[in-house]
Symmetry: C2
Subunit: 515 residues, 2 copies
């Protein structure tokens, strides 16, 4: 079969195992749209804004452990997806972005949509390639897929004229890049530090937070007395009943520093040593004590599970003794206040087996996280890069990757507005996602931050910039406007009934909790 560049690229990517393409195409990507149409094997999923597309690819990558493709329209389409690519980069998610470009002869004419696409695309990756011919295009795609597997974003820029030109056809897959194995020296040094017991903290992130990694970590803890702490914003952590429960470092630097204050050695695996999210006048940004020695064993792109296994082996760590599971939180009674914590208690109690939680509840979720230790086993996904507007799209991607699992999206109102278009994709694809919107009508986190940077007694003009009331958002209408069944809960009883019905049912559902 004769193929143009777009078809050869697409066929190659399908052969390399890419099954889903989150897309928001424009004119310069029409050949790729046509190729998806013609060649079976790629499921196209439309997002009505590119932040949905890239965030969904992030969620998919976290859950599928392999890349989805995205289809983005030139530099402007890419830029709309950048905030969630920033988050995905920090999550080390595998993603292959296919970015359409004008035909090469058209670029120097500086048509209205012309921009420096390489300049855009280089901000999120060191794997960036612009196709140079229709014949080379499929190999570029194979390389992009292979490189993405190692936990990174790959950006392939496709000039339209190569997409529509006859090519030599698809090429075989390239072997996925493997994760580097940590050196024996690093393992030995880390083991020495861990032997110091309580003076040492094993600080975990990345793949180390999968069930298997946490079992190894707990065995190391039991062998040495070193304390396990998990990074503030894990891309994916496996937790709940029957699993190893680890302390998560608090978001607020003051509390985080308190957790780490006696640590003299920190063994870091799957992440970096912790620093505060923001800087504050007169406060330290580094969260470990000044005299703490950092031993970085494995980055988020190294083979972290292998490193943990070798550490456990070298320490002769005994088999795991699991403690009893923590209790589930009590659901507050009718008369009690309807708070974010009450919502957390209900969700934890009714969380379905093997659920996936996409958590962008921010301030509203901060004190509920621990409630879920005794809930049914689940995967918890967080806002890795701090660019808000990630929770809804990540839920979309997780639901596409795992159609048999229920996805629960815990979502702050301010953040939800950023990529509210994800609701439409949930409706169109009938994704099994229950979104819980914590509507507190404010950027609550910023009221806190305003104080933390030293602003006391803010006046009306300042408060107006942190306030989402006047008018309050009506999330039931916003969801229904995009085809998602929605309801509102104003007390615990209503919320419990609505959430129970939502998890017992199937398909997209939104519950607005008014706090």
């Amino acid at each position: 079969m004769s193929m143009n560049g777009a078809e050869a690229l697409l066929k190659t990517m399908i052969d390399a195992g890419v099954e889903v393409c989150f897309a928001n195409p424009g004119t310069s990507e029409m050949q790729l749209v046509a190729a998806i149409d013609k060649i079976p094997g790629m499921r196209p999923i439309l997002g009505l804004f590119e932040g949905v597309v890239t965030g969904a690819a992030d969620g998919y990558g976290r859950m599928a452990d392999k890349p989805a493709a995205t289809l983005l329209h030139l530099g402007s389409g890419y830029s709309n997806g950048m905030a969630n690519l920033h988050n995905a980069k920090r999550a080390f998610s595998p993603i292959v972005n296919i970015i359409g470009e004008h035909a090469v002869d058209h670029i120097p004419l500086d048509a209205p949509l012309t921009s420096d696409i390489e300049g855009h695309a280089s901000l999120h990756t060191n794997w960036l390639r612009t196709c140079q011919s229709a014949d080379e295009m499929p190999k570029d795609g194979a390389d992009a897929v292979a490189a993405a597997h190692a936990g990174r974003i790959t950006n392939l820029i496709v000039p339209a004229n190569y997409a529509w030109t006859e090519s030599q056809g698809a090429v075989p897959p390239v072997a996925p890049e493997t994760r580097p194995r940590v050196s024996d020296d690093s393992i030995a040094q880390a083991a020495e530090a861990l032997k110091k017991g309580q003076e040492c903290c094993l600080f975990l992130g990345g793949r180390a937070l999968r069930e298997e990694g946490l079992v190894l970590a707990r065995r190391i803890e039991q062998a040495t007395g070193a304390k396990i702490v998990c990074e503030v914003f894990p891309a994916r952590i496996q937790r709940g009943r029957g699993r190893v429960s680890v302390e998560r470092l608090p978001y607020l630097g003051e509390f985080a520093a308190e957790v780490l204050k006696d640590v003299k050695h920190m063994v870091v695996l799957g992440t970096k040593a912790p620093v505060s999210f923001f800087a504050y006048p007169g406060k330290p940004s580094v969260l470990t004590p000044e005299d703490c020695q950092i031993h970085s064993v494995a980055t988020a792109q190294d083979d972290q599970l292998d490193a943990l296994q070798r550490l456990a082996d070298s320490l002769g760590a005994p088999e795991l003794e699991m403690p009893e599971d923590p209790a589930l939180p009590a659901i507050p009674g009718k008369e009690e206040a309807f708070t974010a914590e009450a919502v957390g208690a209900v969700v934890a109690n009714y969380l379905p087996e093997n659920a996936i939680v996409s958590d962008e509840a921010n301030t509203s979720g901060i004190f509920s996280y621990a409630m879920y230790e005794g809930a049914a086993p689940h995967d918890w996904l967080t806002l890795t890069g701090g660019a808000i507007g990630q929770g809804l799209p990540v839920a979309v991607g997780a639901a596409v990757a795992c159609p048999e699992r229920k996805v629960i999206n815990l979502q702050a109102d301010g953040s939800a507005m950023y990529t509210n278009q994800a609701l439409w994709t949930m409706a169109r694809e009938q994704l099994d996602v229950v979104t819980v919107i914590y509507n507190n009508s404010s950027y609550a986190i910023l009221n806190l931050e305003l104080m933390r940077v030293g602003v006391e007694n803010p006046g009306e003009r300042a408060k107006s910039m942190l306030d989402l009331s006047n008018p309050s958002l009506d999330w039931v209408k916003i969801a229904e406007g995009q085809g998602v069944t929605a309801s509102r809960a104003t007390n615990v009883e209503e919320f419990e009934a609505q959430f129970k019905a939502a998890v017992e049912g199937k398909g997209p559902r939104l519950i607005e909790v008014v706090l």
Copy 2:
């Protein structure tokens, strides 16, 4: 009064005439929020997504002819605003972006939100500065305002620690950059070309499309017989009854080339010579005939009105003879089909005196533009850079700049979704904007483009990527969910009644027309 860097910067900008700050701040901008609170003179307007913030600044700049400030949160906040900055750059709108950055000691720690902000910000401007101290910060602001006045975006990156450090205080305004005067040689050459009469086209954009510029252009046409044509996507054109009406070059390259096929000389003023929006297999991208000579007189940043005046003088152009105004289109009767053109006819008939039209109707508006030549005098603003999601935010900014004028936003459904959060800002600020959503449940333009790039008989997977039905968006709910009064029209009669009521009233209103 002692001032920190943020306060000194803000006071300086207010003294330099900046009155409005479209904002979506985060923690790193809290000192600037506090400064806006403390120092009178700057109106903060919150957008719930940065694309609203930057698009509003664009609309404000087009109508006020001076910059608004924006307040953006780090690289990720900036990237959310990039698509509309791309459009604003193509509109040569004056904008001063204040972009928060981490404290300088915090940057090397690579906290989650750290990114290459200069790399982001350099994509839209050659005026980019990162503040180097609290003392220099106000002068940086004064320079940014002065440079923006010449019709460009200026990007000022403000590290948080300089914002909170004591500074020497505000500095006086810097004289706005003036627009370069075109050389006498250029004028003389253009005059020679224009003297060739019908063989010559005077191709206009930018400031030349203001009422005064068009009068000069028409006088030149009357003196020489050269034909006036306006660029495809003007940032702002003044038109309607009693004004000079000019032909607008069609969007579709085939039609544009037809308009220009006999042109041997093109005098270009306030824009560049026309090229097609996209490239298509086997079709030329340059829209002027091969033997056409291009005479570029003035760019969109030069002093275009001065150039036109000197051209008119050198050609001894007589005073304007205005033809009769074109008739208003007839409003179709009850029995006739409810089409985009019927909507255009109603809007044209009821357009209030001195209205501002923010046009992002795309496919639905393409055949209605000419209907407004006989409407009440108005300003028409278009999608200059092709990055969709501009119409609603530009309407916000125009309404803030001109509170006494009615703003009509003609809006395609697909594009409206990109920055639907603008509706909330319209509600909060009670802006006098009537939004008309053309709901055709598709990216209609892309169905056309799919054919134009040579894809025939697209199948289900392709069509699903261009289709916005299943589910259809309910714009009444989406608007009401954000506090905007809304209604739906399914025939001409309903639309006429709703539009009439909307323009007679005051405040934000949305009408969904179902086509």
